[in-house]
């Protein structure tokens, strides 16, 4: 089975896009392999052609471009942890990258691979939703940027066309006064898939919660935003009553399931509690 898989190893992005265009829908991209190799081992991998992106050094970067943090598709979690730009512009992504798997996984796994994999439990995906990040994708037809909030279209399904690949993730720079938070609840810190994961972005001034964005994982078929709770609490006086209301609203709005890692009841409660903890820290 493994012997029947062919691999193409493009050296440039353009060569990769040409290969992708020729084999649209019939090939699988390979980056760090931390999801793909597990699928191969489990027998869930059926593709006969792999396009190995790992030699595309032009896509392995983390940089600041005026008002955006730009993370190249081949940047690993370890690259994120070493980048001063990430520390400055997306501190919650640092918290997250430190808890993805363990060192060996962080050394190989890429943020773009997680985005393409589109797991509802993907640790960094709520961050991208809460930050209104853009997913930059390219094909021989050109480049476009899809909002993270429009990228995850169904269970493990994305807005990528068959001939497209992710080239970068673009995160808008923090606005004045914005605060960020990320929290995963799992069985242990290292090497565990989340029971519940939340990313938060908020601005509070003079006791008022000006704006909030909530990204949640393990709460439905895709990572998602919770617009009802966001609208309910934005612009309100940030006091105990509001925090309790926010907790109840989020617990009701998320739609988790019972599975082998946790129960829906537990997940709802934890989501509400994490939000309440964050809001309390803003007062």
């Amino acid at each position: 089975m493994i012997a029947s898989i062919n691999v193409v190893i493009p050296r440039t992005k353009d060569a990769a896009l040409a290969t992708l265009a020729e084999n649209a829908g019939k090939c699988t991209l390979l980056a760090g392999g931390t999801d793909l190799m597990v699928a191969l081992e489990d027998g869930r991998f059926t593709s006969k052609l792999v396009v190995d992106l790992s030699r595309l050094t032009e896509l392995r970067f983390v940089r600041r471009e005026s008002d955006e943090l730009v993370i190249g598709a081949l940047a690993t979690y370890t690259d994120l942890l070493r980048s001063p730009h990430v520390a400055q512009m997306a501190p919650e992504l640092v918290l997250c990258a430190r808890e993805v798997g363990a060192a060996a996984i962080q050394n190989r796994g890429t943020l773009a691979g997680s985005v393409a994999n589109a797991s509802p439990a993907g640790d960094p995906l709520p961050v991208l939703l809460a930050r209104d990040a853009g997913i930059e994708v390219a094909s021989v037809r050109g480049t476009r940027t899809i909002l993270a909030t429009q990228f995850f279209v169904g269970y493990r399904r994305t807005a990528l066309a068959p001939d497209e690949m992710i080239t970068a993730i673009r995160i808008p720079a923090p606005k004045v006064g914005e605060r960020f938070y990320w929290r995963k609840v799992g069985t242990r810190r290292a090497q565990s898939i989340a029971k519940m994961v939340l990313a938060l972005r908020a601005t509070a001034t003079n006791g008022t919660l000006q704006a909030i964005a909530i990204g949640v994982g393990c709460a439905g078929p895709t990572p998602l935003r919770t617009p009802k709770t966001e609208a309910l609490v934005a612009g309100q006086r940030l006091d105990k009553m509001l925090i309790d209301e926010a907790r109840r609203s989020l617990a009701a709005e998320v739609a988790p399931i019972d599975d082998l890692r946790s129960t829906a009841v537990y997940r709802r409660r934890v989501a509400g509690n994490v939000l309440a903890t964050f809001l309390a820290s803003l007062t």
């Binding site: 493994i2 012997a3 898989i5 062919n6 691999v7 190893i9 390979l30 392999g33 931390t34 190799m37 597990v38 191969l40 081992e41 489990d42 792999v50 190995d52 790992s54 370890t78 798997g101 363990a102 060192a103 060996a104 996984i105 050394n107 190989r108 810190r189 290292a190 090497q191």
Partner: protein
Amino acid sequence: MKILLGVNGVSKTVEVAPMRRLLDVLRLDLALTGTKEGCGEGECGACSVLLDGVLVNACLIPICQTDGAQIVTVEGLSNGAALSPLQRSFVSEGGAQCGICTPGMLVASHALLNQTPHPSEAQIREGLAGNLCRCTGYTKIVAAVQKAAATP
């Protein structure tokens, strides 16, 4: 696919399927059985090796990604029969019992000490968080790494 790679400083050429795991090439094609297979899916760290100096799980690396690379396995840590200070600490502190996790623990500890020569206990536990041990309860492994770090 023809792959040229350095293993513990020795050049090797193998002709294998491109998606074959580095773990299998090491153990089966190159007869370096120090690297172990526990889970086969990145969870246990028994297959830890260095790829161009970076800690990876050999069960998650397709061989096509190693063409031109330098690999270090547990066999490369000692100088023939002469154990490294880190290996000697594992022996003296009782950091190995059944031994199945030990090659991975050694390689991961080696990678940690390369990067952080004097790690705190928390840094050791974080650096070894991807390596599972059913026997020791970890305490003696941590002590072994601490001792190696303190050895000049």
